[in-house]
Point group: C2
DNA sequence: TAAGAATTAGAAAGGTCGTTCTATATATTC
DNA sequence: GAATATATAGAACGACCTTTCTAATTCTTA
């Protein structure tokens, strides 16, 4: 059982909410295309900066096809976030060898690769929190859920490695990842990751 | 001469661009109110999430008063960013004692106080870069200018303190500040700053 | 007090937005 | 092959957007 799977068993309700009753096998292809196109456009221009017209146009789909799969634009945003989160965790999971000497460093490296391939410009979840905060929206919940799972991830990792200050270490590494993501917008994923790995090594060595 | 002033002399064109020909003494009160209201609303709901109608309504001014002072919404965004940047730098300048033993720590602390008072939720400049990227807009230039000035700031600080790896240190501290800002959205400025200061101390001590 | 500048409320123009509707066409399934 | 589900194009809706216009009013200042 991977670390992410373990966290999921701790948060059963949230997981159920995330996966819903969706049968992944019988998923419509059109829906997948819509999710993919929407994610790209939302990420590039922001949720509010992209209209449904552009999405259906680039997805080569009729208006009603979108509304057949998603009850509203907000619902589309929600599903985009859920899909992106799943991809992020499977990415982290597949790159972090828990029994390694330094799983923390591996996590930072994996996050760096994710940035290089999927997040060259800012963080979609943070953006969702900011854009939809205070509007009593499910979107914010989903995005915040992802972030608290990140904290849990590092906390559990610290626990596994017998660190006594799990909570502090988890927060520091989450801060490090968030900083790397922001820096990617400024100096690119390559350099940002280089610096964060250097910092991570220093932290692991010199934190009680 | 403070460190920020010194950086400004290095970037004369940009400074001139920022300050323009504006005579701060004869500035209209209405304009100030508009800038203040717009900054608050833009920060809370995003540039695209706030309409001019809401801004003029909360500022208690007429539509034409806004257009008398700003040529467009984009121009309003620009001036809001410029004003916010000025406030940020005077904030940092007034809190960082350059001759201190650890000006780096002071800078992190000052940034933390800025977050607590002015940026409880994300970074306005990063957001501007993301929202307006690729649209050939002055807004992105202003926001990116602010970020590169931040890098310069730490680079100059490192240089002053006789560190040999100025560039690396500057990038690492900028990453740290950006991470703190992001974490503020998740766990609040208080705790985020606490963690970043701890990390900063570790870094200063154990980086060549 | 007279003249010029700034501000006012509100309407109007011209767009785009999210969403719904209609009517036709294409797939899928029994 | 009939029945059911899914997709199509595109018009229509009302709401909201930024920007412009008008004409009356208030403020500033010489």
């Amino acid at each position: 059982m991977t670390l992410v799977q373990e966290i999921d068993t701790l948060n059963v309700e949230r997981l159920f909410y995330l996966k819903g009753e969706v049968d992944h096998m019988s998923r419509s292809t059109k829906k997948d295309i819509l999710l993919q196109v929407a994610e790209r456009l939302f990420y590039e221009h922001g949720f509010r900066g992209v209209g449904l017209k552009q999405i259906i146009s680039e997805a080569n789909v009729a208006t009603m096809t979108l509304y057949n799969h998603f009850s509203s634009k907000d619902n589309l945003v929600e599903e985009v976030l859920i899909q992106r989160e799943e991809r992020y965790w499977s990415y982290l999971d597949s790159h972090v060898e828990m029994d390694s000497d330094s799983p923390f460093i591996l996590a930072v490296e994996a996050h760096g690769r994710w940035l290089k391939e999927q997040s060259y410009k800012g963080d979609m979840f943070l953006r969702a929190i900011e854009d939809y905060a205070g509007t009593d929206n499910e979107i914010e919940n989903i995005a915040r859920g992802h972030k608290s799972k990140l904290l849990q991830y590092f906390q559990l990792l610290a626990q596994r490695k017998g660190k006594d200050n799990e909570r502090d270490l988890a927060n520091q590494f989450t801060l490090l990842l968030e900083g790397t993501t922001s820096m990617t917008t400024l100096i690119g994923a390559e350099k940002a990751t280089e610096y964060s790995i250097a910092m991570a090594r220093t932290l692991v060595q010199h934190t009680s």
